[in-house]
Amino acid sequence: MIYVITENSGKRFIPKMRTFTVTAYPGDVYVLEDSRAAKIWADDQILFNNGKIVTKAEAQAAIDKAFDNRQSIPPEIAGMPSPTKPVL
């Protein structure tokens, strides 16, 4: 897998016509399949969007930090399950 920390830049940040799988996590973490097309996308993030490729541990640390600093859901919202921290 390829672990990328990069910020959503809006339209076509993750394009419709792509040939790789990507899963997004809090902390601006994106986990890509390890393929040529995914590596091209990751390299574009480094070159043009201040992104960086990180280790799995570094990606998890970014997720942990975002989760620990999470915003609250209004108390009037009924019956939400207990928040669960995403784990890579």
Partner: protein, 383 residues
Amino acid sequence: MSSVKLKHSSGNGTIINGPVANPSADITLKVPSTTGTAGQVLKVASANHSATNAELEWGTGSSNEFAKVKLDGTTNSSKAAGDFWYQSSDGKFYFAGTATGAWSTGGSIASARGIGSGNGTLYAGLITSGWQGSSYLTSVEEYNGTSWSSKTSCSTASYGPFSIGSTTATLKYGGYTGSYIKTSEEYDGSAWSAGGSCIATVGMSPCGAGTQTAGLSIGGRSGSSTYLASCEKYDGASWSSTASLSGNRYNMSSGGTQTAAISAGGYDGSTRVNTTEEFDGTAWSAGGNMAAGKNSATMGGVQLNFIVSNGNTNSANWTNTTELYNGTTWSAGPTAIYSLSATLSGGGGGNCFTGGGVDASAYRTYGQEFETTIDTMLKAEVI
């Protein structure tokens, strides 16, 4: 068998033979009186056709010759995913790929938020109100399929309203302001004005369908543990009661028109339901069940082509799973880009947009787009 040989000047030639078997009687074939045009075929004319006589003419062949054929071998009168057909206008074969669609990121909204309302389509959408972590919102943003722009704020700061209609004729109703409300506001593309108040306090997160002048409000929540099954119709000025859902719930995914609406999922006070109900303008009937109960989800579409994604389930606060409805059954769709709940979303048949939403960390500015793809994967010239 007799034959006629038409010799080339160099010696060889073309031989035209008599019939391969003895006819029951002499037959007559009459050739056309013109040379036709390039690409035409020689076919039997309907005039003067009998067992012993045929007049030949130039033509394009019968329509059945190149009938559209689905990959399972059956013919079909409309183009849909999986169809393979000949298009006489350009002389090419086409194949329509499976219409599962794809998610991508869309333009980001200006104001991070969740639990607001969305209406319109992927190419002309509107989001209104919501919650950004500490306060109720009145802000409005419009999407043009590429980017968002700020619009005139509505009057009532709330989260959990529902909105229907287009970007130039929106109806927003219900919501939570610290109190459960039943008022509505109408938007004409530039300004908001008061609309008629619902009969019941539809309150937090009712859902709905239709337009500003032919709307439908479905369910809702009027107290901390009071969920509604009641439904109301709007005619552009006032609300009237209509048939109720089969059970009390709020936060469903809904769409369609006042006379062909769909409501799926939601929360009934104890569980996230996976049922679907369809409204024909008079009564509700059961549709297919989703694979999982889902609450506060992304939604878009019409009764015959509807999408539900994101949202929370009985075990997860934020999901990226997608289910697609074809008017009868649900099927798994591609996963959304982000795992979110409480997005502001809308869409037409086969398309959907989201703005905002909340994930395991924060209220977001993310935009997402879903668009059904009909790919002309094969184009082949007829030779």
